[in-house]
């Protein structure tokens, strides 16, 4: 019951926000002091929302799984809506060209996972701990599994 409700809420969020990943955890310090490792970000990805300089976007580099949360610092948009843009972490000295694919100078709409609309500090730390200490993750799963089993019996 709990698992299926949680899944329904998650799928519902994906539909409502238009983003495949409506909630992400900040993994690096490249946007400090605004966001720190472990903060939670809430995203939307409405196709009609134009990408504008100053916005915080979450994007994935082609071929890599890890979403990056940085700020848009340059956009060039054609009349037909085709847009190419450049990003940079607030806490980084240089723009993100070094992070993009070899030979890639710009990001496009298709690379965007979502736009950061809201944020909660610290809450995402649990995910990072589970990633860095797999034993903790297994322990947590074991506890959750035991809880589910025991609940059923009563």
């Amino acid at each position: 019951m709990i698992v299926s409700s949680a899944l329904m809420i998650w799928k519902g969020l994906i539909v409502v926000t238009g983003s495949e990943s409506p909630i992400v955890v900040v993994l690096s310090g490249s946007m400090e002091p605004a966001f720190h490792r472990g903060d939670l970000l809430f995203l939307t990805n409405f196709q009609d929302d134009p990408i504008r300089a100053g916005e915080i976007v979450v994007f994935k580099v082609e071929g890599r799984d890890i979403p990056i949360v940085h700020r848009v610092i340059k956009i060039h948009e054609k009349e037909n809506g085709n847009i190419k843009f450049l990003t940079k972490g607030d806490n980084n000295e240089v723009d993100d060209r070094g992070l993009y694919k070899k030979g890639q100078n710009w990001l496009e709409k298709k690379d965007v996972v979502g736009r950061a609309r809201g944020f909660l500090p610290y809450v995402g730390m649990v995910t990072i701990i589970m990633n860095d200490y797999p034993k903790f993750k297994y322990a947590l799963l074991a506890v959750m599994g035991a809880y589910v089993l025991l609940k059923r019996e009563s």
């Binding site: 002091p33 956009i75 060039h76 054609k78 723009d95 809201g118």
Partner: protein, 146 residues
Amino acid sequence: MKGAWPHVCYSRTRKNVEDFTGPRERSDLGFITFDITADLQTIFDWNVKQLFLYLSAEYSTKNNALNQVVLWDKIILRGDNPKLLLKDMKSKYYFFDDGNGLKGNRNVTLTLSWNVVPNAGILPLVTGSGHVSVPFPDAYETTKSY
């Protein structure tokens, strides 16, 4: 809506060089010097952790209907002096166009905007009311003077 009534003055020149930061094509490179006067006190309420302030240039060219380039930014933390009095600032980032659209462009608009970062909650992006139009000269600058 709270405002900061920033005031921006500028002076500018332009060159045409290979964009050494990325695409290897000759593009227009603009140089702008500016002053900024702003009082951001009213933007800091109980839930504001910091402001990400940035100056951006917006303009249209033959190549692109809309271009926006962030020229300069500053992080202002809660507790920092909210009154800004900056003079003769040079742009922090290279103002490369995607092509040669700065030459003779009369309608480059400079706007001051800010991203409010709360302690928790929504992340609004606000544009200051008022902007400055920067006409770029028709000729390229050939002497080094930056």
